[in-house]
């Protein structure tokens, strides 16, 4: 039979522009959230995390925003570079647990 895979949302941006990647999470009890980057042929790479007692956290060129009211998470990448091209996943879990649930991912392509 035909295999069914997820059709990843895609985002294309010009080099130097800012990127915003969105994620909706499902579990109201989740209190810890992570963004991962996955380049082709590699494992997920941690980018930034945020706990539910915060609504914003900044890293180097990245910012994560958390809206618990609508269960929405976003990742903002400033001055996007070609090396940022990858699939980006959000993951949700419990601050005290070890089980995390990944989202479907967004494929980011940076156009030089």
């Amino acid at each position: 039979g035909e295999s069914v895979g997820l059709h990843l949302p895609t985002l294309s941006v010009q080099e130097g522009d800012n990127s915003i990647i969105n994620c909706a999470y499902s579990n109201s009890a989740s209190d810890y959230f992570i963004w991962y980057k996955q380049e082709s042929g590699k494992g997920p790479q941690f980018i930034i995390d945020i706990r539910s007692n915060m609504d914003k956290r900044q890293g180097q060129r990245v910012t994560v925003l958390l809206n618990k009211t609508v269960k929405h998470l976003s990742l903002q990448i400033a001055a996007t570079q070609p090396g940022d091209s990858a699939v980006y996943f959000c993951a949700e879990g419990a601050n005290t647990g070890n089980q995390f649930y990944f989202g479907t991912g967004t494929s980011l392509t940076v156009i030089p």
């Binding site: 295999s3 895979g5 997820l6 810890y32 991962y36 996955q38 042929g41 590699k42 494992g43 997920p44 790479q45 941690f46 995390d49 706990r51 996943f89 993951a91 879990g93 419990a94 601050n95 005290t96 647990g97 070890n98 089980q99 995390f100 649930y101 990944f102 989202g103 479907t104 991912g105």
Partner: protein, 114 residues
């Protein structure tokens, strides 16, 4: 920079055969994980392991799966009798702390069940 390593990079097996996937976590890490990613699908949590025992496991991690830390460096995932639907990338990860602790992923083992 320390990294998680996994071997083999690609494993091909016949349906019904046992496979063991190998991982060497980062040396000072205490928590170990296995995930799988079926082609084109989400990364799925399988199991976490701490202090020589399973701390959490998902519904996917049934009796066909087992994990072991046979020595001070290796962390293995065994699938006793592989099925076609076990074909996936299997990622090992490790972290210093559990819960809200950064997990470092290995490059994965691609398992193909024929």
């Amino acid at each position: 920079e320390p990294e998680v390593t996994q071997t083999p990079s690609h494993q091909v097996t016949q349906m019904g055969q046992e496979v063991i996937l190998h991982c060497v976590p980062i040396s000072n890490h205490l928590y170990f994980y296995w995930y799988r990613q079926i082609l084109g699908q989400k990364v799925e949590f399988l199991v976490s392991f701490y202090n020589n025992e399973i701390s959490e496991k998902s519904e996917i991690f049934d009796d066909q799966f087992s994990v072991e830390r046979p020595d001070g460096s290796n962390f293995t995932l065994k699938i006793r009798s592989t099925k076609l639907e076990d074909s996936a990338m299997y990622f090992c990860a490790s972290s210093i702390s559990g819960g809200a602790g950064e997990q470092f992923f290995g490059p994965g083992t691609r398992l193909t069940v024929l």
